[in-house]
Symmetry: D3
Subunit: 284 residues, 6 copies
């Protein structure tokens, strides 16, 4: 693991990563800007071809590229998420939702204390992290930090329009799109010789009540919980959908689309003047 | 408030509500069935025309009708949800996500202890309750109750196919569909003389990053938090979308669609034999 | 379950229940009054004749009638209480004391935020809920809400003078007085054909250290804990004292006495000017 | 503060206090007995004449004398209780109910782990500690320690029959009975020159809804919370009832009555064979 | 256990212990001073010769003597600490770190509320309590009590220079120095006939990675956790190092050295004017 | 930030980092080994010359090099620690001790679940993280994971013998040794033009009670807490000791010494057969 001193395109700072900056450099940044990105991932199985860090690498590369293009700062990444349902596979490391809520609140509280006022959580773990992330900043904003704006960003929503036209097959955990993304940004990390068309039979496991394509049409459905042990039973490889369609181009298209949208988000936030973040609640 | 002794259509029991049954009656039920429904709502502002209990009444009527048609039992309702973002309006009562997680875990734990094995949380509060509800039962299933199946059901997903064809305008908090639903099932509760076309200017408040129609096409977006005080600033009436199109028929169509799908869920669960709920994790 | 639009006798509002009012109606109420009642019950076994909701129905009817007569508002009810010691019987749903404390604090905090200043918790579950309820509001008042007055009301104390003259036999869990109360207010809910004289032999189970009559003379005693499993062993029916003496008149006398006293409490609070609720602690 | 090596009357051990015994001595005790007493007090104002430790000394002397006479062991005392409502007076040290619950559970869990099976919490702080103490052991017994019996003992209940005939005036916080007890057992601790007839006007502060005599007849009442700041406002001396009637004899009579009853409790527990403590709940 | 009315040498108060003072006396003290000492111990096995209360007695005597010589006040002692690793021996009572943090914060918060501004935690339990104690007051100082100074004092550090020259052999849990200290201050508490040279073979159990002398040279090491069950396996007597060298003189030298240094600490704090305790953080 | 596929010297795996491995590769590793290293750092100011990530980079490089040389695996790093006392400087991100305890327990629990039995936490944040880290794994080992061994490793202790001979001046936060270490391992990260001899006057701020050299002789002292705001007051640059003596050679000597010792720890653990990790506590 090497320190990465990535100059931003738009600032004088030697890196977009706070861990690579001194406090004086961050203080200088805060004199003219107040936006921070927090990459939040997970460490969990991603089938035979994907490394355990897929979700974290997704968050890291989206955060980093957005920050470089938009000229803002990132905090160090959070490598651990809510992954108990993948816990049947070795190497998966899961934190409880309560822990995640506390962790994210502490991180955000520190940022707000220093004067950051627009904070974007870039999630790389799709739906599984969202409950904790949303709960964390929703409560923080209501109770402690009315002066800051919090956004939770996820490829699941940011690539809503683009993903269907990029991918060839249905996309789910460890599918062609997710792995193409990593393959494009972190060449060598995907074990391409281990790509597989193994998937989960959603009809059998979940009736018709859970969609089998994260970017496809969804049934009139419900959310059904499954445990790590159950997951290993219904998908012995850990793959939820085929990854055979992996390609660098798909990863590039997907990445560029999301980063483009995130840059738009930063630009909008930069010029935003309210009402969010400007209404001070009356004392009780 | 009156006790409601509603005979089910399919069982001998005098009510589908556990609060109206004796322990012996529940014990008798458990001798041949193991499904329970928990209605979870909220107490929060629903504009000038909707009473504070809208979300709870939605959950209650969906649970009750499903239970009657499918011959299963309901627990008493949970009237309080995660509503801090509506807290700028008097009468809104919000519980923190952590409280909600603890509360739902305690309720479910009791049910599992008695032998219930398939538990459906019927949410009437749409997206705001989902983080807490999902977090609650996901962790419980992983850590304590591998033998039970938990589903979280919400109109937002169950009416996905039907809502667009029922409603006439975009639908959001306190919109025509939600209020029609209450109007149909609880005549007199909606103040029809106070229906309004007031709504939130999503473009102004959230840029183009948050969808303004819960059942319509969504942008490549993110989740942006807002506080109760901010909400009162950007929608002084509390209405997020027009409720002028309210009609009993819309409410009926919406209700029947969702109940129909919930009954299918119950039937599927009744015949379900795994893998969910049947895999016992190995000791560490 | 039907929505209940119960007009109060003293206000213009269409119901005493906040869930049936709009936020504008609650705001109007707060312009001239600041009292709220929270009914808190339980869902737990009440012997062969009593439904699981007895304690909640007790709280609901006391709150509702008091509110109607005194012209104040009620929040939706809390259906779940601290009932682990009844957990050996199917249908009992218990929440932990910590959960109850958090839940009640969240509810009360919301009320105080809106301007309610005199909050009455009407408990229907007797002694078992009191530790959690008292702990909840005592800490809230000290730490967060010095400007509000909190009272915890319970039939155990409110009927202290009247119960001994109304009842014929010793009264304990699922006894004649409790069931008469429900029988009077919710005709049809008590399975009168299942009334029983089964009871607990307090001498055998608890030595002479626990009183066997909630409204009778008590020994020089202690509190002894018992679990749900133990309870099922020492009272296989769940009945702690005879319910054979059930009568509508007893229920009526008991109910009227308690509601009368609660109305007096509301009147006293309405005119109360301190010192409670008026002393602002000095900053440390 | 000196270590107190108080030989019991009935065992060979050099002290009834575990802190003064070696682990081998406790192990020896556990070979033939399994009863432990935990004294729980408070550190809070007791008027001009009573030291801050009154409640703790009450618990300590009751536990110690009971242990000596009955031949059982005591743990070290817990000096801190739930005293926020006395917090307006310097020297009062209060712990939150949640802290108290956690603390007592940890202590009891350790005892159960070693083989103690009958555990008596002797409270010296009357009603204010009871919610936390009861909540603590009730949950522990249900969830973790079904094999142990827990009793919570308090002078308020143990002296129910005797107190009225011993005392001359109404008795409340820092009253003649409480201070006589300390005066008798810890001569010199009471500042007899500072005894006072200052008291709280319960009618004015609490209407007729709170009793003004802990051992006298009680009204049809409710529990009303008050803060430390409010208490200082309504009783500038901290005294709730006259202590002028203090006498050594009253203290002796009161002490002997309670200890006598506690010894009876120990003897009953020693011979107790169930059902409490012997019913193992079935796995869920 | 007897109340101890120990007059200080430097004040008019009848005792250094708050539990033995009235609130008026504490208020008088606070008119001219603002220092408090909190003795924190443990109840855990100390080998065949040491009673379970050794660590608490250490804290008590250090606190008491320091207070008397320096003219400051002590709170009642905390008898329970973080002792799970000794839990294999009967009589050991351990509280979890989270409980300890909550407990100490509550105690300190009360003191700060009354005006105490310099608070010394005197620990008698050496390294095992330090994580909880430091965590407790570090967070409290940062978040709630910037106006107060907190110090955590421990013989391990206070006797750093003196212990090596006083003791004859390596010193670890239940060693000659610790037991000599108790022997000197609480004659009769040590079972001198049970002194032992039994010890732990640190090389075998911990490799060369954990030092075997708390006051001797330490290896380039790490901290390795052990459980109560493991401890009983690797030291069946509970003794970690020889106690055969016990002597009153060693105890006296050790005690006087530590108390002397604590008195210097009090004197320094008394005259201290900042920066600690005087910097108010800017609002966020 | 780039993914780092660092082959170990002793295994066939393409990386020592689990995030870069697939679950199958981790499963393969667990077939013959059971050791894991968790690098734990902080994000906090390190003076004008050191980046905010210093402590995390220390943990990362120590963990990585140890893993490569000893042939074991690392989890992804934890970038956030207990840094509230540095919170006066922008960019410092602190998590509360309670959050840290929960986070580390969750991570370790996942590892134990998969079969890891010897877990080394490599801390890069010196004393400030130790309370949380030790508390976390001590409780986990006692209560949930008796079968695993946990070690907490820190440069403060691992370089005890070597640091004094490597460094030229006293070493404290952001001192010459810490920055040399980063300079050696991550060339370019230290702003060498901003090295400074600014330091903290420990005598003035802490009397003589806190040592000013982490690797030098320590006084008979205590731990004194300071807040982030206070720190900024007593060291406006954030530097606690001179960093002018920075050199690549010092960093190399320091690094090699610590890694060497960590490799010895791994080797010892690899061959370790008990008693730690092999004693199963008896059921209560």
């Amino acid at each position: 693991m090497t320190a990465t001193v990535e100059p931003t395109e738009k600032t004088e700072l030697p890196s977009v990563w706070m861990q690579d900056l001194t406090w004086e450099e961050v203080e200088g940044y805060l004199a003219h800007d107040d936006i921070a990105i927090i990459p939040v991932g997970a460490t969990e199985q991603h089938g035979p071809a994907g490394p355990l860090g897929v979700d974290s690498y997704v968050a890291i590369t989206l955060a980093e590229d957005t920050a470089q293009r938009a000229g803002v700062l990132c905090t160090p990444p959070v490598w651990f998420g809510d992954s108990s349902h993948h816990g049947g596979f070795p190497g998966t490391i899961s934190i409880r939702t309560e822990t995640q809520i506390a962790l994210m609140r502490d991180i955000c509280r520190s940022l707000v204390k220093h004067g950051f006022r627009k904070i974007i959580l870039v999630n790389g773990h799709k739906g599984s992290n969202l409950p904790g992330l949303v709960s964390s900043v929703r409560g923080l904003h209501e109770d402690e930090a009315p002066q800051a704006i919090f956004a939770v960003a996820d490829p699941l929503h940011l690539a809503r329009s683009a993903a269907p036209r990029i991918k060839d097959t249905r996309e789910h955990h460890a599918g062609e799109l997710e792995l193409s993304h990593i393959h494009h940004r972190f060449p060598g990390l995907i074990r391409t010789e281990r790509l597989t068309d193994a998937g989960v039979d959603f009809q059998e496991v979940f009736g018709g009540f859970v969609g089998d394509d994260l970017f496809g049409p969804a049934p009139d459905g419900v959310e059904i919980m499954w445990s790590g042990a159950e997951q290993r039973a219904f998908t012995p490889t850990g793959s939820f959908s085929s990854s055979l369609g992996l390609s660098d181009q798909k990863g590039k298209d997907y990445h560029e689309h999301i980063v483009g949208r995130l840059v738009e988000l930063v630009e909008w936030l930069r010029g935003y003047t309210g009402p969010l973040g400007t209404v001070v609640p009356e004392p009780r």
